[in-house]
């Protein structure tokens, strides 16, 4: 496929207004599936958590999971939505082998939650209100694995395997209204929005909210129109964008791609597009028109969901802190300067730092590690920090080792690479690799004496007040001790020796 032409980002924004719309699917962490009693767990042997209902055997009927309804209501309330006093499920009809009944039981014109909105802060500190159109309940499909063929897609595959363990897992789909006015910050806004949704569902404890496991999935709609134009441009829907970084990149990419086409007088095809993490590009999926005919009709096998006012108020009262309130609280607790805190928020590190602090780290140490070395390592691996095999407890442990003087900065950074390599916790690695800082004076004095043997003038220089001369000896000691020497102590000992 020919590489798509991209317009310079700044230029694209000069010419066009960006409109985005986001659909986020949240997998709930209920014990059982949406419509049957099968376990809702990730990673079991294929087709072990299945029953006549979730594989759609003839005669089987769905029954609504009460916990899932409560979770949906909580999410709706946290998004500032109204909750429908009565709402029906609907069938979305289409044939696909991962869909056991060849229809998805979903909600159509009667979503459980509708008309809400949340404020989203982007890296610049600007705050945008994202209006929520609806949040509705539905069931997940099974998981297809296409074997053979070049693309890993169904077309061209030799055969396909279906795992129905995921079929019927409860999902909440959250749909925004079109979001205008973010301009150049639209990509950041998209990512910050999804981050906020994650924070909300984690705070509610209704989802594991792990993007890498597909607990939170985002489809990003992007369209452009000339500044001042009334009519919305044709949109594309980029699917399969499963990290915050990718969401930002995918939206930015679509803006540049669409701008290049439109600037040349071309037209945008309304279609789904696939995001390719490796190449940082999107490619055309299937054409999608508004007339896509799913033949929705009310699900006759289920009675309407009618949550009582008491239930809604009970769930409202139990809502956790709003993300914005939480941020205010954490900044105060951690005593971070505004800029420091904004960096932490923008990097999506609130959870990690909070957990590291809970595990004993000082807020500043946790911040320093996460925004510094850990961010650098994640970047080098082209990953989100959340994707690294590193827990906040590891970071707290590392900070404690440094605090106790057992590791210096350089050694601590080295230990970090071993943690990422899966060698264990920092404390285990220090023991296993013998990396502890040497602050045993005897060993240090021996090394200093050895270094002085080749540089006898240094002691005189120090006595004369030329302290920079000490550096050469400290360097030699560090080298001889493979970096495990406590440099500050070496300097002290050297000065003591000169002045003795």
């Amino acid at each position: 496929m020919a590489k798509a032409e991209l317009m310079d980002y700044a230029k694209a924004l000069e010419q066009f207004e960006v409109v985005i719309g986001l659909e986020v699917h949240v997998e709930l962490n209920t014990n059982t599936k949406m419509f049957c009693g099968c376990a809702n767990v990730f990673g079991n042997e294929p087709n072990t958590n299945v029953c006549p209902i979730c594989i759609g055997l003839p005669g089987s009927l769905p029954a609504v999971n009460k916990r899932a309804v409560e979770s949906a209501i909580s999410i709706g309330l946290a998004l500032g939505c109204s909750i429908a006093p009565t709402g029906r499920f609907a069938r979305k009809n289409y044939f696909y082998p991962d869909l056991a009944k060849n229809f998805q039981t979903s909600q159509y014109d009667e979503p459980i939650a509708f008309e809400g909105g949340i404020d989203i802060e982007v890296p610049s500190g600007n705050v945008y209100t994202v209006d929520i159109e609806r949040a509705h309940m539905e069931e997940d499909a099974g998981k297809l694995t296409h074997v053979g063929g070049a693309t890993g897609r169904i077309q061209g595959a030799e055969y396909s395997l279906v795992d129905y363990n995921r079929a019927g897992v409860p999902l909440i789909e959250i749909v925004t209204k079109p979001v205008y006015g973010a301009g150049a910050e639209a990509p950041e806004l998209a990512a910050a929005y999804v981050r906020t949704i994650r924070e909300i569902v984690k705070g509610l404890n209704v989802s594991d909210a792990k993007m890498e496991r597909g607990n939170v999935r985002c489809d990003a709609n992007v369209s452009l129109r000339l500044h001042g134009a009334e009519k919305l441009g044709t949109r594309t829907e980029t699917k399969n964008v499963n990290s915050l970084r990718s969401i930002e990149r995918a939206v930015r990419y679509e803006i540049q791609r669409q701008a290049a086409i439109l600037a040349k007088g071309g037209t945008i095809v309304q279609e789904t597009r696939h995001w390719h993490e490796d190449k940082g590009t999107t490619s055309a999926g299937r054409p999608k028109s508004d007339a896509d005919d799913y033949r929705y009709f009310p699900e006759p096998d289920l009675v309407p969901v009618q949550p009582s006012l008491e239930l809604i108020e009970k769930l409202r009262a139990a809502l956790p802190e709003k993300p914005a309130d939480r941020r205010k609280r954490l900044q105060a607790q951690w005593a971070f300067a505004d800029l420091e805190f904004r960096d932490v928020v923008n990097a999506g590190l609130l959870d990690q730092i909070e957990e590291a602090v809970a595990a004993g780290a000082s807020a500043q140490a946790a911040r320093k590690w996460y925004t510094g070395e850990i961010a650098r390592l994640a970047n080098a691996e082209d990953k989100d920090i959340s994707e690294l095999p590193l827990t906040p407890a590891h970071v707290a442990e590392l900070a404690a080792l440094v605090e106790a003087g057992k590791l210096n900065d350089r050694l601590a950074r080295e230990v970090l690479t071993y943690v990422l390599a899966g060698e264990g916790s920092p404390a285990q690695i220090v023991v296993a690799r013998g990396l502890e800082v040497v602050n045993d004076d005897g060993a240090l004095i021996a090394a200093i004496d050895a270094a002085l043997a080749s540089q006898p003038d240094v002691l005189d220089a120090i006595r004369e007040g030329r302290m920079q001369a000490a550096g050469a000896v400290i360097g030699a000691v560090m080298k001889a001790m493979k970096g495990s020497a406590d440099a500050a102590r070496v300097r002290e000992l050297l000065i003591e020796k000169a002045n003795a």
Binding site: P52, L61, A63, K101, A291, P300, D301
Partner: protein
């Protein structure tokens, strides 16, 4: 041949309880008669001799040991083949499910097992219960025991012919637009469609979910009452099942008089299009009820005119979606076409080969009715008609305790007679469909034979939702009035199957 098979189910229950008859003896008597006549009647698609006898033996052993047993323990029963059974194939009359043995029992089947009722086998039906004659069964039509050249009604012609031919004392049916009541009407038997939700649909292979209802088929009203009491009740697996009990049908079927009962004759369901012999028997039955002290009033249900049209939009719409799961991926038939077998081509080839003509017709109708741009005009309008029909019923029930009509416009027609005209076939259900659209209960019971053809005529009573007991009450009273008048039961008018079969040979 033992005379046991000709006895009503409630008598057999007493004989079993008193120990005069063993369940094995009784079950074997039915199995023998099935072996003798099922070839001619084709009531059963599958006979479960072994498991039926095992259940029977278990009942006999436990009864001998003095255990307390459920009311219907040991009484054999036939089950329509659109209910899942773990010990017998379940086809729903379709090639697409041929040989499929379900992994789970329908709730109703589980209740029959809990009652320790030997299940004799699975009865024939129009494919996926789409039809009024069993002629659309992929496994050949069932034959009416009153005249083997005629249809036994449908879709539940297997259950009606099994009961009418004494191949079962009692049976389970399902009624979406008349599939219990119409077969009862043309075979001289009793059939009840309970209130929507009175009996769990879990394990019933869905035709149209908002219309389907499971109910009893028998040779007298009391037998059906015993069965409804055994199978009704809330089921957590069926969200549409009713949470509250509707009371004892057995008790309602034991009431003796109808003095003061207001019976509303539906203006729209008589006269033109109804066979003379049907109307004669119907009017006589009304006279009999009046003589017994009932008050006969006329009620007007103007929206019934649109019932068939609405039904043939709602039913195919739901069916087109319900039948989408038959795609070869997880169970049932799989046809792999020549050439490059993509998933779409395998699904298409399987559905092409596995579904019969009426099923395809309704899937296409329903897919169209739900299509974007047509939804409001078709499915949407049909739902509005449904509301209007419910309002007609509400108004009618303000004037009458039960409503009445002939169950069907005609007596049983000949096999093959209406094959070329699906619309004519649809008209058989003109009187039964409104009850399904409104979710209310209905009973059909025999009121004699038509003068012109000596074939059974059925009368239908309808009651408000959850008032099923009224049907058993009025049905049982009318039945006893007629039996007193005739000096025998309805089935005593029927020709002996032995003679019919001999004649055919």
């Amino acid at each position: 041949m033992s005379n046991l098979v000709f006895k009503p189910a409630h008598e057999l229950v007493q004989l079993l309880k008193s120990g005069e008859v063993t369940s094995v003896e009784l079950t074997q008597a039915f199995l023998d008669r099935i072996a003798q006549f099922n070839g001619e009647v084709n009531a059963y698609l599958h006979v479960s001799a072994e498991s039926a006898l095992a259940t029977a033996a278990d009942v006999d052993r436990r009864r001998a040991a003095g255990e307390a047993l459920p009311d219907l323990a040991g009484l054999p029963i036939a089950v329509k083949d659109n209910l899942t059974t773990t010990d017998a194939p379940t086809t729903s009359g379709s090639k697409i499910l041929e040989g499929w043995v379900p992994q789970y029992d329908a709730t109703v089947v589980a209740k029959l097992r809990a009652q320790l009722m030997p299940i004799l086998g699975k009865t024939n039906l129009d494919e996926f219960a789409m039809g009024s004659s069993t002629e659309y069964s992929a496994f050949g039509p069932s034959h009416n025991p009153w005249d083997l050249d005629r249809i036994p009604g449908g879709s539940g012609g297997g259950s009606s012919s099994a009961v009418a031919a004494f191949l079962a004392p009692i049976a389970i049916g399902s009624d979406t637009g008349g599939s219990i009541r119409y077969p009862a009407s043309v075979t001289g038997t009793v059939g009840i469609k309970p209130t929507y939700g009175a009996v769990s649909r879990y394990g019933l292979i869905a035709l149209a979910s908002s219309l389907d209802q499971i109910g009893p088929v028998s040779r007298n009203v009391l037998d059906s009452a015993l069965l409804q009491d055994a199978i009704a009740g809330y089921d957590k697996h069926d969200s549409t099942s009713l949470p509250n009990s509707l009371g004892s049908m057995t008790e309602a079927a034991s009431r003796k008089d109808v003095k003061g009962l207001r019976i509303g004759v539906i203006k729209q369901l008589q006269g033109e299009g109804f066979q003379d012999g049907v109307l004669n028997r119907f009017n006589e039955a009304l006279e009999d009820l009046k003589a017994a002290g009932a008050q006969i009033v006329e009620v007007d249900c103007p929206s019934f005119e649109y019932a068939i049209a609405a039904y043939y939009l709602i039913l195919p719409a739901e069916a087109s979606s319900n039948l989408a799961k038959f795609d070869s991926v997880r169970f049932g038939l799989r046809v792999t076409p020549e050439g490059n077998p993509t998933i779409e081509r395998v699904m298409a080839a399987t559905r092409e080969a596995g579904f019969g003509p009426e099923v395809k017709r309704r899937i296409i109708l329903g897919t169209y009715a739900l299509s974007s741009g047509y939804y409001d005009a078709y499915y949407g309008s049909a739902q509005k008609v449904r509301t209007l029909i419910q309002r007609d019923f509400a108004a009618a029930f303000a004037k009458a305790d039960v409503l009445v009509s002939p169950t069907a416009p005609t007596t049983a027609f000949k096999i093959g007679e209406k094959n070329e005209d699906p619309l004519a076939m649809y008209l058989n259900d003109v009187a039964t469909i409104p009850a399904n659209l409104a979710g209310i209960p209905g009973i059909s019971l025999p009121i004699g034979t038509a003068d012109e053809d000596n074939l059974p005529v059925g009368i239908q009573f309808l009651a408000p939702a959850m008032e099923d007991s009224r049907l058993y009450h009025v049905g049982a009273v009318l039945e006893s009035i007629l039996e007193a008048k005739w000096g025998k039961t309805m089935m005593d008018f029927a020709p002996k199957l032995e003679n019919l079969v001999k004649g055919a040979n």
